[in-house]
Amino acid sequence: MAKAEIVAMILAGGQGSRLGVLTKNIAKPAVPFGSRYRIIDFPLSNCSNSGIETVGVLSQYQPLALNTYVGNGHPWDLDRNNGGAFILPPYLRSGKSDWYKGTANAIYQNREFLDDCGAKYVIVLSGDHIYKMNYARMIREHIDMEADATLAVIEVPWEETSRFGILNTGPKDAIVSFIEKPKKAKSNLASMGVYVFTWSVLRDVLVEDENDSDSDNDFGKNIVPRMLSHDMKLFAYRFSGYWKDVGTISSLWESNMDLLDRPEEINLIDRNWRIYSRNPSKPSNYISGDATVSMSAMTDGCQIYGTVLHSVLSDSVTVEKGAVVKDSVLLPGVTVKSGAFLDKCIVGFGTIIGKGVRAGASIEGESPYLNTHICSEGIVVIEKGLKIKDHSIIPANSQVDCDLDVKDESNVIEETFRV
């Protein structure tokens, strides 16, 4: 097997249950983001741009779309003879086999892969963050400090510290303690879920953690505290720039809107740090003479005859004449029929919004689809592959799910199809 001193491992196996129907059939990293990307394009492009050419993608939950999307890694220049992209699912062994029980267990189960690569350093990434980062600099700092582990951190607003894993640091940003979601934080340095480890050290810690039956086998919860308890050398690497966890419907929506409201922050047009993606091979987007488009992002294959305001449209979206799409995120292939009104909606692959449908944050009323567990801030989520009945009303905080048992008169789904 080809040798690589530095190997990236992308944790892409999580279900992402907080994204509701968006991750019913696909893993979270394969969820479309920002008009022409999937979430996983960000870590993959960061790896490629950082010069890391051996990348393992740990997939487990609903892997078909993700595996197809990553494929041979060609869009990210990861189709290498020496290294490249590797899809690493859990597998059966002659002895004890298991699913990936936690993030650390996923790496533990692939320790032979890392051994065979001859890895000296491993960078562990999660597949659910939007950011641009040069990992090479972080790895250089890890090597210079002779660290056992280096955690990328970002300063977050003090009032939000309870949502993150918070690091307390001493001199030279040496990590003193790590507290997952503290009620009262002593620091506002949040872990970004980007870890560099010296492989020989991590390997031993993973084996030890595996033998501890009380452990959840999670990097943040178990591995980092375990390393700290062994007095190992852990450092924080400070990152500044755009970084967002898109693990919930509201954060996914917000992050999409950030591209419109603050495009300079993530700066997708930066040609020195392109974010690569698999291309849909569709013609340029067309804005008709009847259309109104403002404060919006769109990509190849979009055909706009109606009004699109402050929205992010993925490829091949059609908005018919007289339809209004506002503050929404439409995933690839969505059609919005004439007279429909969408306000703060996230609509899944290929769904057809029927004529005169009214859905979104400004729509009031009762509905069997109300779901405040998944939806918040008025956002409406509509599953992929549906035809929504003409003139349906879908009020704020609804999630249209075809598996929901809804009586005929209040059912907004006319048919379902595979996309």
Binding site: G34, S35, R36, H74, P75, L259, L260, P263, L268, I269, R274, I275, Y276, S277, N279, S281, K282, P283, S284, N285, Y286, I287, S288, G289, A291, V293, S294, M295, S296, A297, M298, T299, D300, V308, V312
Partner: protein, 369 residues
């Protein structure tokens, strides 16, 4: 799809000039339709037909074509067997110049190294989205030596044109080059098919006669000795013969029916992927009837126009009836009407450029105005 044929595309055409646009590049490499170059259409037709071996014949100025085609990966033509081959003029150590028909030696080698039964040979001045499977089926059934595609455009797209006269079995009885007056409206589309072995014989014969002009016409001229059958193609064909037809063809893309026939047939038009960011339409923008590619940033007013990738239209600028190529930057307070701006042009603040429908203003690649 499967097709037992190889493809040959003639990247240049010495009868066609697009002025400033063809100065830095081969005809085939001229950008057309937002995110494509002219060759993308024919190359995609071939690939979508199932052709797995394509040779691109070039004469000169092939740098931009080579940049665009690369290894052929965008068309799935990066293969161990066959795939994409660029065939520049053939020069060996003995023949320092490319005279005496030597340029055909490389072509002949390439055709001989293939194994397919048929060849599709195509010009680069047409924009079309089709497959050649029916064309070859009909050709085989007819028993003709060669078949050539035509439609009933007549001479309306100007010169150069080839008009056919045929008998009742559609066998060509005469080929007219730029006729002043003709009763026939059968205008050559510039795609022919024949058996590979026959093409080898014909090229060898041309080389033996010191004939240096290999192309569609040199083959059609054989109508007196070979049975050449005309095949009517009824789909959309955009012909690009000069700046005016280029501009008109571009504007036709704003028509829903034309776009549907060209881009939404189910067979994609493939091109080199540029990984540009999505297009951003800013708050003050006003866009009507425009085809806009990825990586554009639009703050001004755009109507009846084609924007290629990475174009910036700044505040208070007005762009009408224009073809704006890749990475053009249009500064504030400009007025551009009936213009074609080549790649990387920079339009300084307050510039006004107004052309005419029949004579669009053309700004050179990289020019600063």
């Amino acid at each position: 799809m499967f097709l037992d044929a190889m493809g040959l595309i003639l990247a240049d055409n010495n009868k066609i000039s697009l002025g400033e646009l063809s100065k830095p590049r081969a005809l085939a490499a001229i950008p057309f339709g937002g995110r494509y170059r002219i060759i993308d259409y024919m190359l995609s037709c071939m690939v979508n037909s199932g052709i797995k071996s394509v040779g691109i014949l070039t004469l000169n100025k092939y740098k931009s074509l080579m940049d665009h085609l690369g290894t052929g990966a965008s068309w799935d033509l990066d293969r161990k067997n066959f795939g994409l081959h660029i065939l520049p003029p053939y020069v060996n150590s003995e023949s320092k110049s490319t005279e005496d028909g030597e340029e055909m030696a490389g072509l002949l080698d390439f055709i001989r190294s293939n194994r397919t039964e048929f060849v599709i040979l195509a010009n680069s001045n047409i924009v079309i989205n089709t497959t050649f499977n029916d064309f070859i089926d009909v050709h085989v059934q007819s028993g003709a030596d060669m078949s050539v595609m035509y439609n009933k455009d007549g001479t309306k797209y100007g010169t150069p044109n080839f008009i056919f006269e045929t008998d009742k079995k559609r066998i060509i009885t005469d080929v007219l080059f730029n006729p002043e007056k003709t009763d026939s409206n059968k205008c050559c589309i510039g795609v022919i098919t024949l058996r590979r072995t026959l093409l080898i014989d014909l090229i060898a014969e041309m080389m033996a006669h010191g004939d240096r002009n290999f192309g569609i016409y040199s083959l059609l001229k054989k109508f007196d000795t070979l049975r050449i059958r005309a095949y009517e193609y009824k789909g959309l064909v955009l012909r690009i013969n000069n700046i005016q037809t280029y501009f008109n063809a571009s504007m036709q893309l704003l028509d829903d029916k034309v776009r549907s026939d060209l881009f939404w047939t189910g067979a994609p038009v493939l091109t080199k992927v540029k990984d540009e960011a999505p297009t951003l339409y800013f708050e003050a923008c006003d866009v009507k009837n425009a085809l806009v590619s990825d990586g554009c940033r639009i703050m001004g007013k755009v109507s009846n126009s084609i924007l290629f990738r990475g174009v910036t239209v700044s505040k208070n600028s007005v762009v009408r009836n224009a073809v704006i190529m890749q990475d053009v930057h249009i500064s504030d307070n400009c007025v551009l009407d009936h213009v074609i701006l080549d790649k990387n042009a920079v339009i300084r603040p307050g510039t006004q450029l107004v052309g005419h429908k029949d004579y669009p203003v053309v700004i050179d690649k990289g020019a600063i105005v």
